[in-house]
Amino acid sequence: MTPILVFIAIIFTAMMIFQMVRPFMRSQQERVRFEILDHDLRRVGELAARKAGLLESLREVEFDYKTGKLTDEDYQAAKSRYERATIKTMRALDEIHGGRGWENAVDDELNQRIAVMQQREQAAHRAEAAAHSATKVNAEIECPDCGKQLEADARFCSKCGTTLEQSSQKSGAGESAEPKNTSTLTKSGSKVTI
C-alpha cells in the first residue's frame, strides 16, 4: 500500500516542479496572455470578496440590532452605508463582467494586441533582414506584397509594381509610440506591462 503512496507522491512532485518552471519557459505571447488574464481575474476576485464581506457585515448589523446590541440611530446609519457600498461593488462587478462575456472581451483584446505585436515583430525582422542584406553587395530583398526577390537597391517591384520603401525607413518602422511591452485594455482602462 505504501509503495503506491510513494509513487503517487513522486508523480505529483514532478508535475508541480514542471509547473514551477513553466512560466519562465513560455514565449512572450503566452506571457502576455498570462499577465493580462490574471490581472482582470484578480479584480473580479477582489470585488467578489468585497461583496461577500459587505453582505456578511450587513447581516451581522441586522442581527445585532434585532438582539439589541445597536441603537436605532447606529443601525440605520450602518445599514444605509453598507447597502450603498454593496450596490456600488455589485455595479463595478457587472461592468467588468460585461454581461458575462468578459472573458471573450479580454480574449478579443488580447488577440488584437498580439496581432499588432506580431505585425511589429515581423516588420522589425524584415527591417533587420533588409538592413543586413543592404550591406552585402549582392544582397537581395523581398517585395513585401508578392515576395519576389529583387535587387537591394530596387525602387519598385518588377512583378507587382509596389513602390519599395527605403530600408532605412523600414528599420524605423520597428519603433512606435508605445513601447512594445505595454498594452492598454479598452474596457477597464488598465495598463498592463509585461
Binding site: R43, A49, R50, D74, R81, K88, T89, R91, A92
Partner: protein, 189 residues
Amino acid sequence: MRVFFEPNRMSEGKEMKDEYIDELEAGTHHDINALGDLDASPGGAGVNIWLIVAGLVVVGILASFVIFDGFEAETYFYDVDQAVAQGDDLVGRTVRIKGQVETGTVQGKAGDLGRTFRIAEKGASIWVSYEGVLPDTFEEGVEVVAQGTVNEDYKLVADEVLVKCPSRYEGGPSSHPDEIPKVGPQAAR
C-alpha cells in the same frame, strides 16, 4: 487613502463616508475591513497618558506579587548531602531530596501502608517517612526522590516518593511517579 474622522462633526463625517463609497466605485480603495468605519460615529474618550501610567503601575504591582510568590513556592532539589549541609535551615522547608535507600533501614508493618526509611548519598543520610503506597519498584538500594516537608526531628515527611530506575531507552528521564514507569517516548538520537 485613509479616512480620518474629526470629533463631533457628524455632517462632515457623513460626507467623508460618501467619498469613501466613491473611492470604492473607482476601485482605488482597498480597505474591506475598515468598513467598520462606516457604522462608527467619530469621537469618544481619548486615552489619557496618566491612565496608561496608572495601568502600568497596577500591572507592575500585580506582576511582582506573582513573581515573589513564585520565589517562595520554589521547591529546592537537593542530594542528601547538600540537604544535610543546610543544617537547621532545612527544618520546616518543603524540599525534594534524592538519595539511595539504605539497606536495613526500611521499617513498617507488612500489609499496612506507611514506611519509614533512610536515604543516603555521599556519606550523609536522612530519615524519610511516607504514609502512602510506595511504588512496587521501591526496594533497598534503589535511588529515590522524596518530596515533602522536613519536621523538627529532621525527618522528611514525604507527600511523594519517586523511584529512579535506569532508563531502558537512551536519554529518557529516569524518575518515576508512584507506581507507573514515567519514561519519555522513544528517543531517536
